[in-house]
């Protein structure tokens, strides 16, 4: 029922566009820092662990670059970063809408004749779907960069070997797979969090509970859909 009210035509296009830009800033641009930090360090860790585990002289050191690329593109960036965004963005959406509910701001919208579900949740869903793929591509790039920095700084793998590994057997389909997952996860994060925020009843305590539920349910659904989408797209 709620989703039926969310997915209706916005009442005023200009207002929707303004809200969309605001949400892209709030949900996407504001997340750049944490995404960059985690991606760089995780990329470095993946590369170091791979290099540490290669002790057979027959395996070329370019394998470190290859493994880092595949891990980052296939799983780390789309799934792990989406889980982190579920925590950061999901709690923000749920607490923002939940607070509006308990302070009667949503009732005020309804009394004015505004479809509050559409006004509050729809721009957030569209903004997430648009900005999350950008964040994930940014994360992929920084993850691989982090791996390269770690390898060259530690001297475990040369730049030539690492770059050769990154370029070997590259399939564009892996990017398609990662971005498809990202879009689905973005929808899950924003809609589940919007739902829990919108359905909040009570006061400050319930806003906190709604926020926690939003993060937990978004994360669980992301993990389930990760398996389903991987099965559908990679086998």
């Amino acid at each position: 029922m709620l989703m039926k009210r969310v997915f209706t035509r916005p009442q005023k296009r200009v207002i929707f566009t303004n809200q969309l830009l605001t949400e892209i800033n709030n949900l996407g641009v504001d997340s750049l820092g944490i995404v960059a930090f985690i991606s760089m360090f995780m990329g470095a860790v993946v590369a170091i662990q791979t290099a540490y585990n290669i002790d057979n002289p027959l395996i070329p050191m370019s394998m470190v670059g290859f493994t880092t690329r595949q891990s980052i593109i296939l799983e780390f960036s789309p799934t792990v970063i989406s889980l982190i965004l579920a925590g950061k963005v999901g709690s923000r959406i749920a607490s923002e809408i939940g607070t509006m509910r308990v302070t009667e701001q949503i009732d005020a919208l309804e009394i004015m004749g505004v479809n509050s579900a559409n006004y509050l949740i729809f721009p957030k869903i569209i903004a997430s779907i648009l900005i999350n793929p950008v964040l994930i591509i940014f994360s992929m790039w920084l993850g691989i960069l982090g791996g390269w920095i770690a390898m060259t700084a530690s001297g475990l793998v040369s730049t030539n070997d690492f770059v050769r590994g990154i370029r070997v057997d590259f399939e564009g389909y892996t990017i398609f797979y990662a971005l498809t997952k990202t879009v689905v996860f973005a929808f899950i994060i924003s809609s589940v969090s919007g739902f829990f925020g919108y359905e909040t009843k009570g006061g400050a305590l319930e806003v906190g509970q709604a926020s926690t539920k939003a993060v937990v349910f978004s994360s669980v659904i992301i993990i389930l859909f990760n398996l389903i989408l991987t099965q559908l797209l990679l086998t």
Partner: protein, 248 residues
């Protein structure tokens, strides 16, 4: 004019409103009074459609609100202004954006016209030079006045006020009460005020309905309420030390 006919509302088997019927007249401040938990907020929320009634009918000038669909209600709600207990101003917007919000949503006026209207209604509620302030920077009384300004920005036909004096000192409460009454008479609108403040009852109660345990117990006005022999109402009206001493 708003009329409620035999409305009933219950939550999980608990009857909050029992066969309530009342008429709220145009150009008058109609007060709903009663103790906390008596059902007056539920009655108001049923009247504006935030709660669906289980039984009964609600009419806005002979338009049956209970049979309207979502879109029809949306259209009618553009004629409604509501002042919420805490003001319900949008935290992310400043005063001007809050008051301008309904104008942005439902009119095609130019920015200049909208700003003129915003300044006019803010002036009407005795607020000047507050356009750029955020709700968190306002006092309780200012918040209520901004909320009134937002409620009247679209020239509503019906004004609902849910406990407009809660959390305010007696002097500021008086200012808000008189503002509500002035606006009601000036624009000839149907105003319904939900309160348990006897000062409000005695100063602006053109018509008063008393609710007890979800039932309409008494109807009258600010004159007759002081001379009623209804024991439950007397207990409510003269329930404080001050009012009981005044009666003596």
């Amino acid at each position: 004019m708003i009329e409620a006919r035999n409305i009933e509302k219950s939550f999980g088997g608990h009857h909050v409103l029992k066969n309530a019927s009342c008429l709220f007249e145009k150009g008058k401040t109609n007060l709903i009074i009663g103790q906390s938990g008596s059902g007056k907020t539920v009655l108001m929320k049923c009247l504006v459609g935030l709660f669906e009634v289980d039984k009964g009918k609600i009419f806005y000038d002979d338009r049956d609100f209970t049979t309207m669909n979502f879109e029809q209600r949306k259209t009618l709600r553009r004629e409604i202004g509501m002042l919420f207990q805490g003001g319900a101003l949008f935290d992310s917007m400043n005063v001007e954006q809050n008051v301008m919000f309904p104008l942005n949503m439902f009119t095609t006026k130019s920015l200049k016209e909208k700003q003129e209207r915003v300044n006019f209604v803010l002036h009407r509620v005795n607020l000047e030079n507050v356009n750029s302030l955020m709700p968190s920077e306002l006092s309780g009384g200012m918040r209520k006045r901004v909320a009134i300004a937002r409620a009247i920005a679209m020239n509503p036909q019906y004004l609902f006020c849910d406990e407009p004096n809660s959390g305010l000192d007696p002097q500021t409460s008086g200012v808000i009460d008189h503002l509500i009454r002035e606006i009601t008479q000036e624009y000839n609108i149907t105003t319904i005020v939900n309160t348990h403040d006897m000062n409000s009852v005695l100063s602006i109660g053109d018509r008063v309905v008393f609710i007890l345990n979800g039932e309409l117990w008494w109807k009258g006005n600010m004159e007759t309420i002081l001379h009623t022999d209804n024991p439950e109402l007397n207990k409510f009206v003269f329930g404080t030390e001050l009012t009981s001493r005044l009666k003596q």
